[in-house]
């Protein structure tokens, strides 16, 4: 186990190094000049040169990367071009809302996906099953900005159930968490359904039924506990999926997390912020995958870590 953990951690560090190279490389492939954005439209060539030198952008690219990596290992993410303040504290200050939103989305997708999946599995082939699976298909395919704006218009503007965006209270969280989690809910309902159908075919289920156990108890006690395993293992992977979703959802709902920060940084070509958010997001994705792998053997003894 410890050996496995050490190997996985080393691999994770390599992945993060790769991410740093790719994000750094990408910033040089963008056909735009950050210096021109900083210097503004009244700048002279001399002013632009001054800024280029101050930012170290006049140095050869390998040297720039070495400096960047040197700062990165000490936890320094550099200075924002547009804000002229440090990127590290900026990203950290925006992390809690994003993590809260993800937690909300995970709860939302489980609350939607698991009951829907069980219900569909127990009514396999009937109308309820088909309706649930069609809905799950719709929820997986709806773009998040469409879903978010629709929910806002209906539940916040027309019916006044929730506030129109914003941050701070539980009521602010529900609609964005639903928007972010609905697609996952649809996905999980399909997984839960197939997993449940498979479990319900087993001999021990037949035995339980033969004992005269009620169908509800058979489904929940013997079926559910076994069918839920693959889903628990998936939750860690959701972090990665959500990281891309938060950029859209946070912007629709005015949620002050790193997705919103990322979007604004892209618009103003604030490269240190773009790189900072990417690195931090990558850390969480790697962490999520690691947790998913570590949790699997705990809930399913058939899986061994080697």
């Amino acid at each position: 186990m410890l050996h496995y953990l050490a190997r996985r951690l080393a691999a994770s560090l390599l992945i993060l190094l790769g991410v740093s190279i790719v994000t750094f490389g990408l910033t040089f492939m963008i056909p735009a000049d950050p210096v021109a954005m900083i210097a503004g439209r009244n700048s002279t060539p001399q002013m632009r040169d001054n800024i280029r030198i101050q930012l170290g952008l006049d140095k050869p690219i390998p040297e720039q990367y070495a400096r960047y990596l040197g700062r990165l290992v000490t936890g320094n993410l550099g200075m924002s071009y547009a804000r002229k303040s440090e990127v590290g504290p900026l990203v950290v200050s925006r992390l809690p809302p994003t993590l809260l939103l993800m937690l909300g989305a995970i709860i939302a997708e489980l609350l939607i996906g698991i009951p829907a999946g069980i219900y569909a599995a127990t009514r396999r082939g009937r109308f309820a099953d088909k309706a649930a699976m069609t809905l799950s298909f719709v929820s997986v395919s709806t773009p998040q900005f469409v879903l978010g704006l629709t929910l806002l218009y209906l539940f916040a503007y027309l019916w006044n159930w929730f506030p129109l965006g914003g941050y701070g209270k539980l009521s602010n969280l529900i609609l964005p968490a639903l928007t972010l989690g609905l697609a996952g809910g649809g996905w999980y309902s399909r997984m839960m359904r197939s997993s449940m159908i498979e479990v319900l075919r087993n001999d021990y289920i037949r035995t339980a039924r033969a004992k005269g156990m009620s169908e509800w108890r058979v489904t929940m006690k013997h079926g559910f506990r076994n069918a839920i395993l693959p889903i628990v293992a998936m939750i860690g992977l959701d972090v990665g999926i959500f990281m891309s979703g938060v950029v859209v959802v946070e912007n629709v709902f005015g949620w002050p997390g790193i997705g919103q920060l990322m979007w604004q940084a892209i618009q103003s070509l604030d490269i240190p912020v773009i790189m900072g958010v990417t690195i931090v997001a990558a850390c969480f994705i790697v962490l999520g995958n690691l947790i998913a792998d570590l949790v699997s053997p705990l809930i399913d003894p058939r899986i061994r870590l080697r």
């Binding site: 210096v35 101050q54 303040s85 925006r94 912007n251 709902f253 002050p256 919103q260």
Partner: protein
């Protein structure tokens, strides 16, 4: 006689209406909430240069000069008075008495000097430092040979003397621009890298709090040197508010101003409702949308081709495409700008004439590219231009890119044609010179510059410099006449096809009062927060 009678009746009616108008006089008190999609980047006046923070900074800080609210008329602000030497090279400002920073300290001439030096110092990375190039000692500071401007003298606490290296008629405008706003040195140094988040100025509003990504709160500066303003007790800016959602929130009475303006998709619907009429302020802004044509490469090195493009584009149709949120442009300068020539009608829509000019030019088949920023409505506008050009035989492929990428392509001189929407050009100050040097003069026609046509007419540059040397009061009219002539000549050379002058529409709640010009202030973009008021203030 009948006419006289009518006007007498009208006058009486006006008199009768006067008490009613009085009832709606500005009141002290109340709050306003403004939404923006993006969090502000900074409130550092020497650095902030986008249209969200521009007028927030104006409310927190002051400069030596300012404009009458809602107009483009220059007036002294932190300066009480000023004198200009006969040669136009020395400006002496007397500062107002008893102006205090929000930290309670009295503002002095040393702060003024420090602030300009801060703007010019390369370490500040100010996007506006280049505006102060006429102040003596500028080159030394930018070149790193000095940190103080030798051209600014402070003989006593109340006097600031600027020595210039060339006479410049725009100098007083530059004394009103954000980059020259006065900051207290001790607060800047204390805050260090966080100065942009903890601004301390002398302005109408005092900074209270900034919750990153969420909100900024300002409160009324009780010690503001102008008695009676601001009217509001406080202004809250909320961020991360999609304009589409913000419009819904305004309808529900949760917010007061949609800071980003009305989204194109909701514009027609909001304007169609008569109940919204008093809530939507409409105003001119110092903006021109134009298509640049790169004069250094074929086919646009041929003036006939450029003129043909001007005649090929149906500007009226494009104005309809943007829901009439603008007026067709005849020339580079917008109508509200001094130097605009109402007698110059520009190139009318004439596809047949365009075809004839193209035949005369004899350049054969034209295949070119039109760069455009990829945010609505700009791609739609580019498509309309593309169709118009195709109708006269010019094939233009559209390159729809992110803002920074279009700016880079323009600065590199790579783009044959660029539609300026979403990037350029709204004047920083209301003077024709601001529409020339950077975007039509030789100074901007360099690598990384904003003169995307690369149009460089040395004779015009000389005339522009001469015009700006006319700094005396009695030369004002002659100077504007000369600028008019310069822009007429630019139009003959047709490095641009001017398309339209955008109007500004600000949607605000019923509880906010103030003249429409305050909600579409040409200087305090988008809104002059210092002079609007809450009708429900107690």
């Amino acid at each position: 006689m009948k006419k006289l009678l009518i006007s007498a009746v009208a006058a009486l009616a006006l008199l009768a209406a006067a008490p009613l108008a009085m009832a709606d006089a500005p009141k002290q008190g109340g709050q306003a909430t403004v939404t923006f999609n993006n969090d502000l980047t900074t409130l550092d006046p020497q650095v902030g240069y986008d249209w969200q923070n521009w007028s927030v900074i104006k409310s927190i800080f002051d400069g030596l000069m300012d404009y009458k609210p809602g107009t483009t008329e220059l007036v002294p602000d932190l300066a009480e008075s000023y004198t200009v030497s006969d040669d136009g090279l020395t400006y002496t400002f007397k500062l107002r008495d008893g102006v205090k920073f929000h930290n309670g300290r009295t503002m002095t001439s040393a702060n003024v000097k420090y602030s300009f030096e801060r703007a010019v110092n390369p370490a500040t990375q100010s996007p506006g430092g280049g505006y102060f190039g006429m102040i003596a000692g500028y080159d030394d500071v930018v070149g790193g040979k000095a940190t103080t401007l030798s051209g600014i003298e402070t003989p006593d606490d109340k006097t600031v003397i600027f020595k210039l290296t060339r006479p410049d008629a725009t100098f007083l405008h530059l004394m009103a621009i954000n980059f020259g706003y006065v900051v207290p040195k001790e607060e800047v140094e204390k805050a260090g890298a966080d100065w942009g988040k903890k601004p301390v100025g002398t302005g109408a509003f005092k900074f209270v709090e900034w919750v990153p990504g969420q909100s900024i709160k300002l409160e009324r500066n009780k010690d503001y040197f102008r008695a009676g303003v601001p009217y509001l007790d406080g202004v809250t800016f909320e961020f991360g508010q999609d304009p589409t959602v913000a419009v819904l929130r305004l309808k529900k009475g949760e917010i007061d101003i949609v800071g980003d303006g009305i989204p194109p998709a909701q514009f027609a619907e909001l304007m169609a409702d008569p109940a919204n009429k008093p809530l939507i302020a409409e105003g001119d802004q110092l903006h021109t949308g134009y298509v640049t044509m790169n004069v250094t490469q074929p086919p646009f090195d041929n003036v006939k081709v450029r003129q043909a493009v001007n005649m090929a584009i149906n500007k009226d149709r494009i104005v309809r495409l943007i829901n009439n949120r603008g007026v067709p442009a005849s020339q580079a300068l917008p109508p509200a700008m001094p130097g605009y020539n109402p007698d110059n009608k520009g190139y009318g829509y004439d596809p047949e004439g365009a075809k004839k000019l193209l035949a005369e030019a004899g350049v054969g088949e034209i295949n070119t590219e039109l760069y455009v920023m990829n945010v609505d409505p700009n791609p739609r506008i580019a498509q309309a231009i593309q169709q118009d050009l195709a109708a006269v035989g010019i094939k233009a492929e559209i390159r729809s890119l992110a803002q920074a990428e279009v700016i880079a392509a323009g600065g590199a001189g790579k783009a044959p044609m660029i539609w300026s929407g979403g990037m350029a050009w709204i004047a920083d100050f209301p003077d024709p010179a601001n529409f020339y040097y950077g975007i039509l003069g030789c100074a901007g026609a360099v690598e990384g510059g904003w003169n995307w046509s690369r149009y460089c007419n040395k004779a015009l540059d000389e005339r522009a410099t001469k015009a700006d040397a006319m700094v005396k009061d009695n030369q004002k009219d002659a100077r504007i006449t000369e600028w008019k002539a310069i822009f007429d000549d630019v139009l003959k050379d047709a490095p641009w096809a001017p398309i339209f002058n955008e109007k500004r529409f600000t949607y605000h709640s019923e509880r906010l009062g103030g003249d429409a010009t305050l909600f579409t202030d040409p200087i305090h973009i988008p809104v002059n927060y210092d002079y609007i008021y809450a009708r429900d203030a107690q």
